[in-house]
Symmetry: D2
Subunit: 133 residues, 4 copies
Amino acid sequence: MEYAFRLDFKVRDYECDIQGIVNNGVYQNYLEHARHEYLLVSGVDFVALAKNNINLVVVRAELDYKTPLHSGDEFWIGLNTCQSSKVRFDFLQDIYRSADDKLVMKAKITGTSINERGRPFVPMEISGLFQDK
Amino acid sequence: MEYAFRLDFKVRDYECDIQGIVNNGVYQNYLEHARHEYLLVSGVDFVALAKNNINLVVVRAELDYKTPLHSGDEFWIGLNTCQSSKVRFDFLQDIYRSADDKLVMKAKITGTSINERGRPFVPMEISGLFQDK
Amino acid sequence: MEYAFRLDFKVRDYECDIQGIVNNGVYQNYLEHARHEYLLVSGVDFVALAKNNINLVVVRAELDYKTPLHSGDEFWIGLNTCQSSKVRFDFLQDIYRSADDKLVMKAKITGTSINERGRPFVPMEISGLFQDK
Amino acid sequence: MEYAFRLDFKVRDYECDIQGIVNNGVYQNYLEHARHEYLLVSGVDFVALAKNNINLVVVRAELDYKTPLHSGDEFWIGLNTCQSSKVRFDFLQDIYRSADDKLVMKAKITGTSINERGRPFVPMEISGLFQDK
């Protein structure tokens, strides 16, 4: 599969729980970091926008857990995007274990952009980014 | 709406991010804690099972973010369950802000139970729990 | 021992690591939450100050780990304060397991208050709070 | 300054709090990951030991916060070790911002190794490691 962006990671022991596998909530941290890095290289700065009261927020997350990651595993996240409505953007994110490219997770994260009054507001750098796809 | 189980929480400042709201990944922590507390009062001990190599794992999560939680907010999670297949169990979990019972999140978390070889294995205390619903 | 403030907690399973005990970094989360709750009931709002560019920050932490907390453990944190210099404040925080009041951790967290230029700046509500002790 | 081990990191946005800086508790996560990576390349596997009921645990942490890390900052951790008693080991860990090698944190983490009964027990691969220093 082809991805518009790819980021490499390694599991850290504090991310693993009593079962010896990465805790189910930690994957959303991984996915967020990959999205923000993708946005940054694409000219969209999550933090600078937040300081200007433009907040990129998640409105829906669908996560399919296929294979657990263990302590020491290296993995990578592939990311594609598509615009799902005038003000909603989908991030299609897949996680693979690096050793054998086994699928770890398939995720679809839907985000939007809101202004200080909580209303949808899509700044130009974001609309441009998603129209390109 | 009626729930089989309810648990009260309060947002902690370290759970909030640069935007001043609870980070999107933290909600899965809240949901997991509510599930484990529910299981515990129902006679299913997540940790004791893990020590016996029976692992309760999440296979799918659907999270709809309705209203963000802020620093200092009190909130509660209502939980219902249903058995979605012979070896899969759904937890329907809703998060409400306590001050006005405004809906914060609707979530459906699907879990299963696997043995040390990674095969589905449903111990009696779990099958009994879900058949009751 | 007498404390100026006390807060009750319960370990959540996602806070435990591969060893089945609360991860060493999580205790600082507990301690921060206790400090912020203490400050809040004392009239000092960490978040409101941050929005006005007055940041309460930790400059030193000393943590003595006495007994590990396990999944399901209830515990409480006792807190006392003292002013260690014109612009530094010590929080003496002890964690106890609730079942038997066994000491879990002794901590001394030193904080200061800085303005938007990173200079020490102690707002009145804080100087008043620590002078009382 | 010379270090026996060095590891590179980048701040992730979910590690930052309302103040826009890395939360004070997150630094212990960074430090732990650097220690475990150092141990691993030195032939000591934290997770494998835990599975054999030999637990490496932190008994004391001293953290001096010098400069906060911000969103997007790259940083590195330098690590040295010394044996502070027959059963205690010190990790001297310094964090530097990569852009200008400005000191972010000085930390001394003291650990020990305990067996399943909670008694100090130092396996050969650890005693060898620290005697070399």
